[in-house]
Assembly symmetry: C2
């Protein structure tokens, strides 16, 4: 995404719907776009501030997110409605050459899919012409670096996370060689794109696991409001939004050169016990979270984005926000300002497992991005693991960590496979001899 529009953040796409809505507003006497520099600092390109009216209805299903750029798309990109997170295992005989071939192939195909063009060998242009904000994001697992014979290039944080006492991890959702995160606002587009990427890689990799998630659809959620998880909570309120915040929290700027501009992806599969959660009254649910259910405001505030006041007490001298609440435990201490992450979580809701005795099989595909999980996700999760009222209703059942390379350069459109384009693939600098 271009980095020019510093002082005037615009939605990542200008759509027909937005255009019409803008015309209407114009007809009613309001300005087409209200745009002014923000006191909160420059926004990361692609970020739309919740509550930002000019973003309302700005995304039609057939809009596009730029594929090329300094960073991969699908990280700062606003939540799409649908997620397919697919982890792969390289075939036994795969080597550095195979890894390079699939990265070249996948990058080119992902670029085309995100631009609404059929990849080579895809005979169904009708299935790709509505990207609906499709993004394809690639990450490498720790084992990837052994396969390519570059173990020294592996970042020190890349590998299984330290164990947490409450983990009940299932290897079915464990570490893998490589991961693709595909997101779109259209489930058919997403299905076809995922299918294409799996098929394109079939000579080199096989599917290790496949996690499918969803959020409120674009049409339902006004002006990029925070979506809700299946406990009814707004999920994703605390997130970086300005360029400075993304630079501080998300984008890697030291360590191995190939990773500069990249980020660390942690995915945790978190089962949520709806049967027991629903036995709580609303007040108890809000105490557990430390936030109200309706607006998502902290119990000491009135609006979703108000800063919680953990020191506030009620008329009995008791803290308004329970120190064991999820918000109190997850918020970084004042002396650890770096303990923040970019959250990008999606709901899952599958048929109940036969014989489970449960009426649901639901939860969260918790995805977060950061510079270094050991400094960011891990200390946060350690606090939650130790004490968090929410723990009674949730269980972490899957965990994996991936290193996402930086974005690839924008290919010159219409030039086909020019020299610049041929080297513009995920992790290209890892393969330089």
């Amino acid at each position: 995404m271009p980095h020019e529009s510093k002082s005037c953040p615009v939605p990542h796409s200008l759509t027909r719907r937005g255009f019409l809505a803008g015309l209407s507003a114009g007809a009613a006497g309001a300005g087409l776009v209200a745009c002014a520099p923000r006191a909160t600092g420059d926004l990361e390109p692609g970020v739309v501030v919740p509550g930002d009216r000019e973003g309302e209805d700005s995304r039609l299903g057939n809009e596009k997110v730029a594929f090329g750029g300094e960073h991969q798309a699908g990280i700062a990109t606003p939540f799409q409605a649908h997620l397919n997170l697919v982890a792969f295992t390289f075939r036994g005989d795969a080597d550095r050459g195979a890894a390079r071939r699939i990265m070249r192939l996948w990058t080119e195909d992902a670029r085309r899919l995100c631009e609404g063009r059929a990849p080579l060998g895809d005979l169904e242009p009708e299935m790709v012409d509505a990207p609906a904000n499709l993004t394809v994001t690639c990450g490498f697992g720790g084992t990837f670096f052994d396969i390519i014979g570059r173990p020294e290039a592996r970042p020190e944080w890349l590998g299984p996370l330290p164990a947490f006492s409450r983990d009940r991890l299932d290897d079915r959702w464990g570490e893998a060689d490589v991961v693709l995160q595909l997101c779109s606002d259209d489930p058919v587009t997403l299905s076809h794109a995922t299918r294409h990427m799996i098929r394109a890689g079939v000579d080199y990799v096989s599917v290790r696991w496949f996690q499918q998630g969803f959020l409120n659809s674009d049409g339902t959620r006004p002006d990029n409001a925070t979506p809700r998880n299946l406990f009814g909570q707004k999920d994703g309120t605390v997130n970086p939004r300005t360029r400075d915040e993304f630079d501080d929290i998300v984008w890697i700027d030291e360590g191995p050169g190939w990773l500069r501009g990249g980020t660390a992806l942690v995915v945790r599969r978190v089962a949520m016990n709806l049967d027991e959660w629903e036995m709580l009254d609303r007040n108890s649910r809000e105490v557990v979270m430390g936030r109200t259910l309706d607006s998502g405001a902290p119990l000491t505030g009135e609006r979703e984005f108000d800063t919680p006041d953990f020191a506030a007490t009620d008329s009995y001298g008791l803290p308004v926000i329970d120190p064991a609440s999820h918000i109190a435990r997850s918020t970084n201490p004042a002396d650890a300002p770096h303990q923040k992450i970019r959250r990008r979580a999606f709901n899952y809701d599958l048929p109940p497992e036969p014989g489970s005795g449960q009426t649901s099989n639901a939860g969260l595909i918790f995805i977060c991005f950061q510079k270094n999980p050991l400094d960011q996700f891990v200390p946060i999760q350690r606090r939650l693991d130790e004490k968090d009222r929410l723990n009674q209703w949730i269980t972490h059942i899957g965990s994996a960590v991936f290193a996402c390379p930086p974005g690839v350069a924008d290919e010159e459109r219409g030039t086909g496979r020019n020299d610049a384009g041929r080297d513009a693939y995920w992790g290209a600098t890892l393969f330089e001899d």
Copy 2:
């Protein structure tokens, strides 16, 4: 849905988005709504003709489909993007009283959910306030009539379909006591509504199976265009649209009194072998179907809704549409005009089954509605089972039949549980003594 607006079909909801788009069109000098009687006859209420520009962008995610009316919603209703089809088994001790209680409870809860109001006992109004065209449709399996002690009220067509030679039916997707079809344009709304209905019934019924499907999202598919299946084909072109067609094909007007205004639901789970389908070139795919992939037009026509000319031959004297093509085999013979159905099929795409050797686990949740499956779905499927080029790539793996009672009366809003409302539940007349 009201039956008054005979000569002026309108989209089933007048939305903010539609309103704004209308304003814009107005500002640009076009009329707000172009409306004239149709040569094709009166449209069934709720039906929007594909290509009908006035329907464009008419549905926001938070719009509503009327729950009450002569017929249940979710049958003539335009395709929503998401389906949860849930079949239930009554608990062993369930009897007529239990069945009546659950029907009363479910009907009231479904009505509230579709209206965006939280059902009693649902403490999460934030999860229901965006129905996004939610519909909840109920059907009774053959065994339902034994449970309620009214076997004589069972329609003669209700039960397992006659076997077809190519069937590979899995009992996992088989007959059940009762079914709920929930559809919405928002996946979170749909998840919560489904969850609520399952939980509300937990004292009486347990989930037998749960089929989840999807179509192109509302924002992607312009003016209610025909959605595509995962073979890339437009799926649902041939469908009743006028009130006369629905009266002729779908709504039951004879037989047991309790079923007048109702319909028969057949659901077939159809596995689609993407791996092998994708080996075909485009021309072969079009010959198999008898339609083009891009527009969906019959090979003898130019536009999707053109009538196929099965007698047309090419310069070699060969038929343009292969007599073994899907379109040729599925079209009713001239002497059997009643062999038509209302199709409402959704795609499924699940992670590949471990050890299957397949790269996909995808297909169609083929749902159709008709007066009598033995006279409509069965002869069509018999022709296809006998000969259909498409058979090489598809397998029917599930089958069930349900009788959908008519719609329930509109409750007077704001009156709560008035006497009319108390008797307005699915199948009420079955329980009259």
